[in-house]
């Protein structure tokens, strides 16, 4: 009995300071991100917050939640994210939505009015957000349908073949490389593509 108590005391002594240290690091990181967000909120631009801990993504402006999106699943690879604001460099997708060209005088006198517009349904639900600092966020829709399954198979093969090589390449060059897979509902994935424009700020809260 005495031995058991000693073992428990030993575990408490070892584990206590370690978890306090982890808490401290978590708060330091979180405080830094909150400070960064406050700086971002001073400007009138739209920005994004990916909170992997809460499994939520937010479209925000001036600190106001404009829209909340549920993250269904996520996976992280590579270097830890920094406590800074990232900027979107590029939205990369296989089929980029195109704008309609209006032909002058064509709509006049037409009986059948056809809507020629770029709408949310035209946005891709599977794409990559390339942020500065070597961060790539792979957005995928939740499972559903054969096309989606084929897409997921293609994606998984990329993940297991290309990502490790990319990680090694970046490690050898000494550059950071972070890959985050995020699974959203199809319409939410489209909404992120719709709302994010190049140069938009993004904050990532680690899990």
């Amino acid at each position: 009995m005495m031995r058991l108590q000693l073992i428990l005391l030993f575990i408490t002594l070892i584990a206590g300071p370690a978890s306090a240290g982890d808490d401290k690091e978590r708060y330091i990181r979180e405080n830094r991100l909150l400070e960064e967000e406050l700086t971002l909120a001073r400007k009138p631009d739209i920005y994004f917050v990916f909170n992997l801990k809460e499994k939520m993504a937010y479209i925000k402006a001036r600190g106001i939640h404009l829209r909340e999106l549920q993250i269904n699943d996520f996976h992280c690879w590579g270097s830890p994210v920094s406590g800074n604001v990232y900027r979107l460099r590029k939205k990369s997708t296989f089929f980029k939505p195109g704008r309609e060209m209006i032909k002058p005088g064509e709509s006049k006198g037409k009986d059948n009015f056809k809507i020629e517009a770029l709408e949310l349904a035209d946005m891709p639900s599977r794409y990559t957000l390339v942020l500065d600092g070597g961060v790539k966020i792979f957005i995928r829709p939740s499972k559903g349908g054969i096309v989606s399954e084929i897409g997921n198979l293609f994606y998984t093969s990329i993940r297991f073949l290309i990502l490790p090589i990319a990680m090694l390449w970046h490690a050898l060059r000494g550059t950071p490389c972070t890959a985050i897979d995020i699974v959203l509902d199809k319409n939410d994935a489209r909404a992120v593509y719709w709302s994010l424009s190049e140069g938009s700020g993004a904050i990532i809260y680690p899990p």
Binding site: A20, C76, W77, L118, L168, A171
Partner: protein, 215 residues
């Protein structure tokens, strides 16, 4: 082909090299998989106590929360074609709207081009009008294949903008529409079209200076 021993040897060596690289990369990729909060913490922060950090965290969260305005503001979701009239975190009214089509119109002379997007970001109500008249810009004539009139009076079109209009800069307005069946679709030239009843509520509830957030 597989009887060729040399070929088989090369294949085995290449496979070993490939899988070595793959394993090394996989290890590097998953090493920090916890995405922990480890990182370069500054010395100053390292000395701060946990309680002080918690207090700072609460203060920062409060500051961020306090940014949400107590007065009425408008949020426009151009993707879902929805307008929300809000106060704090509460929703006062939501309305189906029509936002910009994103289409492109080129002047046949090739000198000018218009992209019919609704602008995004933070704006303010700058002007308010009752029974507004529309002064048709050049693109409205070009789109219809008509000649641009020299007399400014020929540009004025009455009754197409509904009962009210709220201007938020650069010629963009929140206004009414004759085409109510198109509400919920992206069909405008950048303005926000709202149904009559919703428009009246928005017009009455807002003042010049009311904030508008468009995304």
């Amino acid at each position: 082909m597989f009887k060729n021993r040399k070929f088989l040897n090369i294949l085995i060596i290449l496979s070993i090299i490939f899988f070595t690289f793959e394993s090394a990369g996989y290890y590097l990729g998953t090493r920090d998989v916890s995405f922990s909060n480890k990182g370069n913490l500054s010395r100053e922060n390292g000395k701060t106590s946990l309680n002080a950090l918690k207090a700072r965290n609460s203060a920062l969260r409060r500051r961020l929360k306090s940014l949400t305005p107590d007065e009425i503001y408008i949020v426009i979701d151009t993707g879902r074609n929805m307008l929300y009239l809000k106060r704090g975190n509460g929703k006062i009214r939501e309305a189906v709207i029509s936002a910009g089509s994103g289409s492109i119109l080129k002047d046949p002379s090739g000198k000018r081009q218009w992209i019919f997007d609704t602008p995004r970001g933070e704006y303010h109500v700058k002007t308010k009008y009752i029974a507004p008249a529309w002064t048709r810009p050049d693109w409205a004539f070009i789109e219809e294949g008509e000649a641009i009139p020299k007399d400014p009076r020929k540009r004025v079109d009455e009754g197409v903008l509904g009962d009210y209009a709220l201007g938020f800069g650069n010629g963009y307005f929140i206004h009414g529409t004759l085409y109510t069946r198109l509400l919920g679709r992206n069909v405008t030239h950048g303005c926000i079209r709202v149904g009559d009843r919703d428009l009246k509520t928005v017009y009455t509830a807002t003042d010049v200076g009311t904030r508008i957030y468009i995304f």
